[in-house]
Amino acid sequence: MLSLIAYTNTLSAAPGETIAVKVGSYGARTYRADLRRIIQGDRHPDAPGYKDEAIALDLGGERVARHQAIRAGSYVQIADRGNVLAELSSFTLAVPVLPTLIGDTERTIFHLTGIGLELLIDAEGRACAKLGDARLTLAAPLAVKQWILLILSFDKGELCLSALTRESEVIAAGKTSAALSRNAPVAVMIAARAPGENHFDGKIDSPVLFSRALEPLEAVARLALPQNLSRLPDLVVFWDFSRSIDGTEVIDASPHQLHGRTAQCPARAMTGWRWAGQCQDWRQIPELYSAIHFHADDMTDAEWQTDFEVTLPKSLKSGLYAIRLVPDGDEAQAYHCVFAVRPPRATASGNTVCFLLPTVSYLAYANHRLGLDVPGTEVGMGRLVEIDRHHAFLQEHPELGFSFYEVHGDGSGVFHSSRNRPVVDLQPGIKGFLGGLGSNVWQLTADTHITGWLEHQGVAYDVITDEDLHRDGLALLRQYNVVLTGTHPEYHSLQMLDALQGFVDRGGRLMYLGGNGFYWRISFSDAHPGVIECRRSEAGIRPWEPGQGQFHHAFTGEYGGLWRRNGRPSTELAGLIMSSQGFDLSEPYELGEAASDSRADFIFDGIDRTLGRKFGAFGLSGGGAAGMEIDRADFALGTPRNALILGSSKKHTDIYLMTPEDMLDPTPDMSGTQNDTIRADLVYFEKEGGGAVFSVGSIAWAGAMAWNKYENEVARMTWNVLRRFDKRN
């Protein structure tokens, strides 16, 4: 277990900039911090050895570790102004809801604090209203995943609650005596009683509040014409969730303008109670996207206090770094806050080689629980799930929030991931679930096979992050001859793809040293710093679907899903496209005729290129250079015609299956021992203007590079390519 966890306010900083460190104790009493440069993070006995480097920088002495809580759960908060809410003497609240999880606990839909008015679903799943000491509960429990209109009114000491179907049928109603009194400042909470308390799971559609008691059908008639609501003299507020969908604002469309804000990133651009398939894109008819889907386990900002700040020396070279926190003097229990030191912003570093740290993909997998939540993970691994101390911690602390690989407690997909919280699997040296027989490392630690190799070769290189690339675009890449990817750069924004494509189109050289890259679309948003959105539409290997009509991102309106279905297949950039995955064994490539093409001479310098020879039959990730997630060249899907297919893996275990986007008509021959499309291709192609791309199409490649302390033919080939790519002619 982890006795201390932490995060920083950024995953990338330039020399001279300051990083804020936020630390939370989970048993640790004290800790000391130091700055380390991370070189090689795989601790497997056959790996080249864990290696980091202490940076001489005083981060202060021993500090007391304090607990900082995490309060998961999204909500909307609205402050009263001008006593609009505080002076209500009678009212009607009308709110359509679609609960997705009921039972176990009370789940608050609407809470008017200071007055003690609350509309909720009780632990038995029944709609319930509270006002002061009065409590009114409808007899019949609500059904999950069905819209219901709740109408709560109060006048002259009588509290009435009704539940109606979308067809305006009253299915339950009740009334009781109650008194309205104000005892504290008035504010509104939607979808929670208070932050971290009694959160609601499900959709809530644009609550409306009137200043007098209405009969249920009278309220229904008003809701049928939302565009007219603002002209009604007795309208108090109309929180129109279909406005400002891309931001955190919640707009009150009434003249009172009691606007509010969302917290913890509930899902917006969600179909409301009037949606019945009329459109698929919220930007076309936003009024139909009038719902917000809240989750009790949404978590995009831990909101921790800063414990200390670190100003990076101006002379610090670019690289992969961590602020290491050693609890109670025990280095074996150290927690690492990983970040990149990017090159200086105003001046070129002079380096011509750049490692693109795939931080967006790290966030996509942040705190992922595949081996904990998903029984089938073991089937895909082909062996037992290994649990290290960070996994055990994750299991007991779901409040840390999820990755794109989880579903919420109500079974709906996780659309958002964030760096504004501890990401306990973003540390060197930890175990993965999917890393294959051998090291079983994933993402960051697997990527240190590449940084370790760069150090071993004595390469001067910069490290930039995906977020840097998204923000700065091609301008950030102009100084480089070569960009190297990580092992699994799966998630990209349009801006990131444009920058990389622009780089190779203008003479840059790309070394794609991974598998299943450039697969899913994500969006950033200035309204949600540090958060990314992903909606897994239509196809792709995915643990959930976004729901009908909800395939467009709320952040940007972009159509979510595979880049392959968005006109930007990875073949255009990298020459390869995702073909299959399996997390047990990896295989060698068998060299093809193109390996003897004169254009590939430099690639095979010092390497036997006999036709059919097995190349890379070793490695830390499954025992071969081709495996885990693998890509193939596919000319029909956009692989450049001049691409040389230097080698291909020729078989994989039957854990490797065809992807859903390829498996249009399932037949029982779509597994690794039977189907030729299930292969990794090793590809090289040149671009007009001097650009070039070398793509390995395999997550396991870097694990082979690190085999035998980087002394092997896979590392040799990688070096041949890097050495050539770094020469401009």
Partner: protein, 109 residues
Amino acid sequence: MARYQITADDVPFAREFMADPFGYRSPGLQRVLNVMRGLGPQGKYVILCTEPYRRWQLARLPARRGEAIEAVEGVNYDDLGTAERDVFLRRWRDLGGPELPLELLTMRR
């Protein structure tokens, strides 16, 4: 979700697994493993890394997020192959598989 039931016809596949718990599988063994490995999450066997890459302990997953993983006291492994064989035999028994020949049971370690 699994439909397949382990029967006496699967004993050869148990033999195949015990001989080599990693690697390529016959279709029959893969089918048996799919049933076994798809179990859970509640009570699912996992292994805790007690010493990285050197020592593991058998454990079982809880039913819900937030609950602790339960270590099985006294069941430790010094290599992954031993862990795989042991858990295979436990699951074989749990799933009502027929008695296995003694030589397979003694291959546990």
